[in-house]
């Protein structure tokens, strides 16, 4: 009899908690993975695919599922550091395969530029652009919207006439950076 009571009580308690958990899972259901959103916010959004994923969001997804955090070349060390902080893992040096080209004279931010005389209007680059920053139609000359271009490089390879090149963003007064060595503080002696 005692055993029966014990089983009954425990059974009731189990059912109770089961119902509670079931209710909670419905009531506090979370759409999507919030960590993915946070990771996505840290990534540079160039959508370049250098990490091996088709865009920043897919890479954020992958990182949330245990992919290495050191594959984002445009983000560089800064991004790795931020991701490491967020996920509470160790900072890793950037993956060699995903490192920026060291032979390049400078790693200035660049945007794509279409040499318009050479463009044959094949629309291949338009299909490659992840952010729709190329304007044009079939058999019409294409051009790049510099403001929208992320400098991801993806349009360069598909061009059959090699009329796309990556050019550094011209330095203007708006984006000019002070150079500590160039301007000395003037003190009144």
């Amino acid at each position: 009899m005692n055993i029966l009571i014990a089983i009954l009580v425990l059974g009731i308690i189990a059912a109770l908690f089961g119902a509670l958990l079931g209710y909670a899972s419905v009531r506090f259901h979370v759409e999507g993975d919030p960590i993915v959103e946070q990771l996505d916010a840290l990534l540079p959004q160039t959508q370049c695919g250098q990490c091996g994923y088709p865009g920043c969001k897919p890479y954020a997804d992958a990182v949330a599922n245990g992919e290495a955090i050191n594959k984002c070349a445009p983000g560089g060390e800064d991004t790795i550091k931020k991701i490491a902080d967020l996920l509470g893992v160790d900072v890793q040096p950037i993956d060699e395969n995903h490192e920026k080209d060291k032979n390049e004279t400078n790693n200035l931010p660049k945007v794509a530029f279409i040499i318009e005389e050479d463009c044959i209007g094949c629309t291949k680059c338009i299909q490659a652009c992840p952010v729709d920053a190329i304007l044009g139609a079939a058999k019409q000359m294409h051009t790049i919207l510099i403001e929208e271009c992320t400098g991801c490089d993806l349009c360069v390879a598909p061009c059959p006439v090699d009329c796309i090149e990556m050019r550094p963003i011209p330095e203007t007064i708006q984006n000019w950076q002070w150079d500590l060595n160039k301007i000395a503080v003037k003190q009144v002696g």
């Binding site: 729709d132 002070w178 503080v185």
Partner: protein, 769 residues
Amino acid sequence: MTSIIERIRKNKFWHFHGGIHPPEQKQLTTNNPIKHIPLPKQLILPLQQHIGHQGDLLVEVGDKVLKGQALTQSSSPMAVPIHAPTSGVVSAIKKSVIAHPSGLSELCLFIDVDGKDAWRQRKTCQDYTQLSHQEIIKSIADAGIAGMGGAGFPTHIKVSTKSEIDFLIINAAECEPYITADDLLMQEQSEAIVDGIKILDQVLKPTFILIGIENNKPQAITALQKATKNIDKINICVLPTKYPTGGEKQLIKILTGKEINSGSLPIQSGIVVQNVATCFAISDAIIHDIPLIKRVVTLTGQALTNPQNLWALLGTPVSYLLAQTGFIDETIDNPTIATLPAANPPVIMGGPMMGYSISNELVPIVKTSNCILAPSKVEMPSAFDNNSNEMECIRCGQCSDVCPSQLLPQELQWSAKAKDHQQLTKLNLFDCIDCGACAYVCPSQIPLVQYYRIAKAEIRQQQQLDIKADKAKTRFEARKLRLEKEKTVREEKHKKAAAARKAAMSKKNAAGETANSAVAAALARVKAKKEQNKATESQVSSHQEKNDKNSESQIPSGDEKSQVKAAIARAKAKRLAKNDAGNKEIDESHVASSEEIDDEPANTSEKKSQVKAAIARAKAKRLAKNDAGNKEIDESHVSSSEEIDDEPANTSEKKSQVKAAIARAKAKRLAKNDVGNKEIDESHVANDEQNNMAKNEPSAIYNEQAQKENTLDNAAIDKKIRIAAAVAKAKAKVKAKKQQNKLAVTDNEEQVQPNDSRPDNPKPNSEIK
């Protein structure tokens, strides 16, 4: 409020935190009047001389401009126009180095001065009190007036406020060492300045007007007091000299005791601050209709023999001004186009605390340039020394003692070096006014303010990048969404097309069966006849059978043979064209007959003439095709040769049918050629298909025929006619099917093929597969 004004009346002011007392060095220029200088040969006017946006150009290269003529027009409220400072010709509009620490080039307008200094039409205003609020603001905007104290904020925006103004503060502090431009302007033009203040009073209707002036300008103070004797509203507040009293927030704090919160504007506290030079420009613009085309510039420093204040037209190159004041430097031979090696000797634009060295002395004077400082080496050794003497921070805390914004310069410095942007923002880096007091007092000679400037620029850059990243993200996601949508639409379409194709297939199958049955019927008839023949004419000789076998054994090499034959036929046709009659024709007929005899020894001379006719036609066709294009020539060769080869024995009826089919195909192809290159390939294929179809069926029948002809000519002719009819029917059906569905062509081909008993299928077939 009244307590504030009472305190002011008693000359008791508040204090702002920190501040320094650097050597003033103003005596270099205070005692000389403002000098009017001769017109320079060329003026360089940057299109953007202030905070905000540049206006749209109104003139072109080669245009003659008059003094005071507007050169740009403002397209946005944050833009103010620029004007021609004197008459002349616009000689160029190109990029040139401008007055900016970066030494970068911006779009500038070059005016070749003609020396006449001819004014545009002006309408001076006798009584500005009659002007409405809007008229005054519009005039200020049209005159291109931007704050002349340093930042260059468009003045018309500052004065077109609707909120109630308690204090209009006129900034006459001029706290930075060396600079005396405002001091001299007040001494010489106090009346005009007071007029400007009155105009501002009329627009803003402030409760009080305070003029903040440091006590190191006694002459200016007396001049102003004299000019404002009869105006009770204007209070001249003589302030103790301290750097940076002239800072907007610092001046407000001293005069009213109010502190402007971080990130908010003085106007939100009911305060408007205007520079004294701006007041002068306003009075000039409203009363005399003189837009902002000149300003007082202090040329100072011990490297000049005659340091002095000058009335400089906007756009005057710095080198010209330096030459006017006796800049000691041998490199200047031609005063207008002299260029110096960068930074040696240094020329500083602005004061010694907040200025920057300019890299090129063609840099023009703009609306905000109040001082050109050319120090000697004794005076300012640090300007000559590019090596930084920076030492470690000793945490003495002097920097935070002098900081007028009450920041923590030392903390900021660590974060700036570590590029910790979050921490910098938390430490209110953007409240730093770049005054340089911290760097001035630093015993370790750390260029603190430079670190802050760099950090500020970096943070701004980062903000821009963040905005851009956000934009890229939304665009990327929008694109993904769009592609997915397109994909589903496409799939839907494919499904529909597949269904349509299936339906067409079933229909076609039915049609194909009838076609097949027609052919089968024809074949059955042929067979029946043959058997009949065999039965009646049992004398079918073994010799003839052998012959048949021979022709069959020749079939594997038929391709080659047919090509050779085609070549011969072509040659023959050519010859035919050359000679109307004669021996050669006979030869030809010999050749032709011999050829035919090879294949069909039983052929009659009738056939020969038919063949000839066919060849002639083929030639004509070929010629026609030659016009269409080179590629087609090959095809036409193939088709014509095929025609000839396959159906030498067929009746002219069939030939004409086949020809008609080819002609149709050709017409189609030509039509398609117009559509585009890619489609040419398709049309080729289609053409080939048609040829094949047209050919396959006759040739299928031909085999039967060849056997048959050996036995009986008459019967053969009968049969031929019937077969031809059947073929024509089948062809018509095939055509109909083709038009129904292009994709079904291959299927169609497969259906027709079983009829083809010849092993040497024409090449195009294999191409299709």
